[in-house]
Amino acid sequence: MLMCICGAISFGLLATASKFAERNRCNASALTVSVFAWAAFFMLGQTFRLVGHVQTTWPVATLAVGLGVCAAIAYFAFQTSIDVGNVTVGWLMMNLSAGVPALVSLWLYGEKMSLIRSIAFVLAVVSLLCLFQGNRLEAKGKNRGEA
């Protein structure tokens, strides 16, 4: 259980440090490049240490390139979003996005829709509606305040 708590602290600090970096006026694209470069460097070391060579098939490489691009765009969007909105909402959105592969799995692998998963999807939609409407009202309030 200690490791779970360490994981939660680590991920929580990751989002908090992203906000600190934004307050430090770090450029979002430069920061994304830096994060991915460090992580690629670490993974390359791990690959040589544990596998001994960097060899793969074309389908695996194509999949990795496509989804790696998605990950970089996601982190860039998150880093940009915390400049204009709340870090908590951005981080929640990063975690709610787990619903997307779950939905794709249902369609691609014919997985069954369990009751818990159905409830989770309904709650995710309710949450998104509340967050979007809440943000709209916040913006309206700010505009009124400025006027």
Partner: protein, 139 residues
């Protein structure tokens, strides 16, 4: 702008983690994930780095420093989660505690360290969203 960014995060971040499931479905050995993740990170680096280079933007020392901290925290979180799973804790305990816990930490930090304010409806959305994340990771 904010709505578009949230939709981009929702779609791209969700899909980015789908690859490990595909590798599992293809029946590849677990060692293949190391090469996969190396290419995954390198592709992300090139995707944002190439247009940045085209615009003549340079990587500053503060971005390199913050990038190292963020990468270490990300890898640290992944390793902690992997160790918890290796120690025999079931996934339906590890994922909700780790992901739900991280959202609570961020919510606390945003209030205490950054004094961020949210509309009550956004707080309600956050609470419902936390439950959705926990249920998604349990299922």
């Amino acid at each position: 702008m904010w709505f578009v960014l949230m939709l981009v995060i929702l779609l791209t971040n969700g899909m980015s983690s789908f690859g490990l499931k595909v590798l599992q479905a293809w029946g590849l050995p677990s060692s293949s994930k190391y090469v996969y993740l190396t290419i995954w990170y390198a592709a992300g680096f090139a995707c944002i780095g190439a247009p940045m280079l085209g615009k003549g933007l340079k990587l500053g020392l503060k971005e390199i420093r913050w990038g190292a901290i963020l990468a270490a925290l990300s890898i640290g979180g992944q390793l902690a989660m992997a160790s918890a799973l290796q120690q025999g804790l079931p996934g339906n305990v590890v994922f909700p505690v780790t992901l739900g816990g991280s959202i609570l930490i961020v919510a606390l930090a945003s209030r205490v360290l950054f004094a961020e304010k949210m509309h009550p409806l956004s707080w309600a959305g956050m609470a419902v969203g936390c439950v959705a994340v926990v249920l998604l990771s349990v299922s």
